[in-house]
């Protein structure tokens, strides 16, 4: 990759950010959600610390409702990188059997939002890398690269710091923590093309294939395991589908597609007429919802 391209600069910036965190934080961790952004972030971490393995563990805050393919790639990716993989399940959600079919918003709240806070507290992580990008949503456009959280994991707009040059102020009081977003300046196209250029392994669900599906509330959902409640007599329909984003399988809508290679996917993405988040049930609420979620500590 030529050194003056935008990829070279984005890559260099992300590496610089990760090294700053490792140099200044006491106990960093990388939040690894097994999606395409996590895949890119992990790849960049390998580059940043080569020949050493990345000097922090991967943390997956699991809901038990992810696609089976995601669990497979998660374990393999951690192993390939020579990194420790921490998996956290919120015991309360586990005990109550919280699931996306019966519990709606509570599902995300308990497994993900609460789960993440509990996991960060449990291991006393003071800096957590996340794969969020500024181009994802209007309200994220002004998010910092280093985003501060109170000891209660709240995002206080007033205490966010101006970021000048590439000088990140990572100082914090005891108990406070930082979310760090090394991919802040990447766009969805950058992510896909970087995966293509670098040959990064991603979950096969991003590629189109015939899969068993049902339609719920206008979303095409994949019947990924036997926990999916079907109406009496209902049969899953095989459709050629793929996913533009991955989350809990009962909450993630697929698109019908024939794109089975990365260039196909990119072409489809560029010619498509809807933005990425349409496939995520969580965002179909009011537009400020991301902001609210952030304040609550969702990411």
């Amino acid at each position: 990759m030529s050194h003056s391209t935008h990829f070279a600069r984005l890559e260099s910036e992300a590496i610089h950010i990760m090294r700053e965190v490792v140099a200044e934080a006491e106990n960093p961790v990388m939040l690894y959600s097994v999606g395409k952004d996590s895949a890119v972030m992990l790849h960049l971490a390998k580059k940043a610390f080569y020949p050493a393995p990345p000097p922090f563990p991967l943390l997956h805050v699991d809901t038990t409702w992810k696609f089976q393919d995601m669990y497979r790639l998660r374990d393999k990716a951690a192993n390939d990188a020579g990194m420790e993989l921490l998996v956290y399940h919120n015991p309360e959600a586990m005990e109550k059997g919280i699931n996306p079919f019966d519990h709606g918003a509570l599902h995300t709240d308990l497994w993900k939002t609460e789960g993440l806070k509990q996991a960060l507290d449990k291991w006393a992580f003071d800096a957590a890398f996340g794969g969020a990008r500024r181009d994802e949503e209007k309200s994220r456009a002004k998010e910092r690269v280093f985003s501060f959280r109170t000891a209660q994991h709240r995002w206080e707009p007033k205490s966010q710091r101006p970021e000048l040059w590439s000088l990140y102020n990572a100082r914090k009081a005891k108990g406070e923590s930082i979310r760090v977003f090394p991919l802040s300046n990447w766009t969805e196209l950058d992510i896909w093309q970087y995966i293509h250029l670098e040959g990064i392994e991603i979950v096969p669900l991003y590629f189109s294939a015939p899969r068993p599906t049902v339609v719920r509330d206008g979303l095409i959902l994949m019947v990924d395991d036997e926990r999916f409640p079907l109406a009496p007599g209902e049969q899953p329909v095989t459709r050629s589908i793929r996913f533009r984003t991955l989350g809990c399988y009962p909450l993630t809508g697929a698109v019908e597609s024939d794109a089975s290679t990365l260039p196909d996917i990119i072409r489809e993405m560029l010619l498509t007429t809807t933005s990425e988040r349409q496939g995520r049930a969580i965002d179909n609420e009011q537009s400020a919802s991301m902001e609210v979620k952030k304040q609550q500590g969702y990411f």
Binding site: H3, Y50, R161, R267, L271, A288
Partner: protein, 633 residues
């Protein structure tokens, strides 16, 4: 709209690989847009996003709907709504900040820093400009060059942006008049020259109608180009300039996976480096040669400005985070005192003399600022005297660091000449600075062996050690005031220690009772401890009744002249007895407690205390403020 936009579409559909090839080779330009409210900044950004196909159909449908209900342009599409995600936050009272937006054309990818033109403007603009290589300065053609235009241009120039695009907007509203455009350009040119801007590119546009954005407009046949987009695509990148400078790389992290490998990881700030090059480590001054340039993708033949790499050296020499590896024949300067421009970013104003963390390159040191030499009025650019800098103020100060640091003047290199100041108490980013030059050079650093004496210790702490000796009746308020004083001082980063009955009676003076002899011995020991602590450079605060003049005088004699500050916490017996927080007066009156000061043992009030606090006329906080003011200048 012109059809160049659709060319990409056709290529994507027909030959995605060719498209990807092209995208892969794009360079990156970061720029900032500056304009006053309603100059059309949001409209222009929305237009750039729209014209470069960054808007999806669902967003467009939403936009069309919103334009009809909330738009300011009748039935036409109001592009400003695309980027006005911030308006909701404004209502919620969330801090308005710098928003970053992305788009790409066939040649370049762009990151736009968008700074809303309201309060906090200087802070936000400086933040956005710090990373930008180009500034689009928007002018409303109907209004011409305004005070704000001058302010924006000054800040952009101050932050070292070399390229200014003067976008004379809303040309549709002045009938695309050439004279209007040229008058504005002439006006601006005169001003630009006066602040040292070397050149700019003026473009007549209508963000709303799309004139001269991606295609030359038929409405302005007198204008030959470039279009705004073309200019953004063709302007020379800073990286190309940085690459021509001498090699410098701040070490971010030392990579030691095993005993055989020691790599210095960092991002090259300027110049280029190859294996075999002779390098000097600063500030240590040690030299070596580059052995390898290690990356995940294999060793490199050369690394240049902007790249994040890991270097190994031929010799085993010490080099840690914050040090800078530089070309041996052209090393950078090392100094511990600088003149710098400071932009204040904190609600709490600059406190000259107070110690802040200063982060520069990959290094964090302690630094103190002088009182500003002058402050700059960003509207008139006049210099004015100032004692401090408030939020959004800009001034020139002398910065003194606690050790010598390698640096490059900001005008030559942003990475090694720009710094941030961090408040040691709140950890917030309090200010940003631009180094002009060194005031005290340390070309050759030999650290002098120094005597570590009391003066030296005090200097390190940046304070004058004193003993604040609170005396007064039981219940007068000594401890409460002492506590408040200590908190205030801590907030000012002073090093303090509070000695009171609680931490002395249980340990050091456990063996003492309340007879007169024991009470005197108690005070003598406290005095000795306070003396040791002032030798250590601390500000000592004591809270003991210490009823006898002679024992207070004894302690005064132990200290250096001027170091003992007697604070008489003056509360009439009647008032103290009424408060009787610990119920001690009641016990003394009933005879249960013997030798109780004020009841059956005398209190000798100071005759000439340095400070007298009348607690019936002053709150605890007021008292603390008064005391702190007295000892901190």
């Amino acid at each position: 709209m012109d059809d160049s936009v659709y060319k990409a579409d056709a290529l994507i559909a027909e030959d995605i690989n060719a498209y990807l090839e092209a995208h892969q080779r794009k360079s990156l330009l970061r720029f900032i847009t500056c304009g006053s409210v309603d100059d059309g900044k949001s409209t222009l950004i929305g237009r750039l996003l729209y014209d470069s196909k960054m808007i999806f159909e669902d967003q467009l449908a939403q936009l069309e709907a919103d334009s009809k209900t909330q738009g300011t342009q009748g039935q036409e599409i109001d592009f400003a709504l695309l980027v006005d995600g911030l308006s909701a936050e404004r209502e919620q009272g969330i801090t308005i900040d710098v928003a970053y937006r992305f788009f790409a054309t066939e040649k370049r990818k762009f990151i736009v820093a968008d700074t809303p033109g309201h309060e906090q403007y200087t802070r936000n603009m400086v933040t956005g400009a710090s990373m930008a290589e180009l500034a689009v300065i928007l002018i409303d053609a109907r209004k011409g060059v305004l005070t704000q235009t001058r302010r924006h241009s000054y800040l952009v120039h101050l932050l070292g942006i070399r390229n200014i695009a003067l976008a004379v907007n809303k040309m549709d509203l002045v009938a695309y008049a050439r004279e209007t455009f040229e008058a504005i350009v002439a006006d601006y040119a005169a001003f630009a020259q006066s602040i040292g801007v070397e050149g700019f590119t003026a473009i007549p546009i209508s963000g709303f109608k799309g004139d001269n954005i991606t295609a030359l407009s038929t409405h302005t046949p007198w204008y030959q180009g470039p279009t705004l987009m073309q200019h953004l695509e063709e302007v020379e990148l800073d990286q190309q300039i940085e690459q021509r400078a001498a090699f410098r790389m701040p070490v971010q992290w030392v990579n030691r996976p095993n005993l055989d490998f020691r790599g210095f990881a960092g991002k090259v700030a300027s110049g280029a480096v190859k294996p075999g090059d002779e390098v000097r480590i600063l500030p240590s001054g040690k030299t070596s040669r580059v052995d390898r340039i290690v990356t995940f993708d294999g060793d490199l033949e050369m690394a240049i400005a902007g790249q994040s790499v890991t270097l190994t050296l031929k010799d085993e020499i010490d080099c840690s985070r914050g040090q800078v590896i530089a070309a041996a024949k052209d090393p950078l300067e090392v100094a511990d005192q600088f003149e710098a421009t400071l932009i204040w970013m904190d609600e709490e104003h600059l406190i000259p003399g107070r110690s802040y963390y200063m982060k520069i390159g990959a290094q964090t040191v302690s630094a103190t600022m002088s009182q500003p030499k002058y402050q700059i009025n960003v509207n008139t650019l006049e210099h004015a005297a100032a004692k401090t800098l408030e939020l959004n103020d800009i001034g020139v100060v002398t910065v003194t660091t606690d050790r010598a640091i390698p640096f490059v003047p900001y005008a030559e290199n942003r990475e090694l000449g720009g710094f941030i100041l961090i408040d040691k108490m709140t950890n917030g980013t309090a200010g940003a600075g631009l180094i002009h030059f060194a005031l005290r050079r340390s070309q050759n650093i030999h650290w002098q062996a120094m005597d570590v004496d009391r003066a030296h210790r005090a200097r390190l702490k940046n304070q004058k050690p004193v003993v604040l000796w609170m005396t007064g009746l039981s219940g007068a308020g000594k401890s409460a005031i002492a506590n408040a004083v200590e908190k205030r001082l801590a907030r000012m980063n002073r090093h303090t220690f509070l000695l009171d009955g609680d931490n002395v009676r249980h340990g050091l003076n456990k063996d003492l009772g309340f007879t007169e002899a024991d009470r005197i011995e108690n005070i003598r020991r406290v005095g000795e401890v306070a003396k040791l602590m002032t030798d250590a450079g601390l500000i000592v605060i004591t809270a003991f009744i210490s009823p006898f003049r002679s024992e207070r005088e004894m302690v005064r004699q132990m200290m250096e002249p001027g170091e003992f500050i007697e604070v008489f916490v003056d509360t009439p017996l009647q008032v103290a007895e009424e408060r009787d927080v610990k119920g001690l007066y009641a016990k003394a009156r009933s005879g249960e407690l013997k030798n109780f000061t004020g009841i059956d043992s005398p209190y000798e009030p100071p005759e000439m205390p340095e400070i007298r606090i009348d607690t019936t006329a002053m709150s605890i906080d007021e008292a603390a403020e008064r005391i702190v003011d007295r000892i901190i200048d």
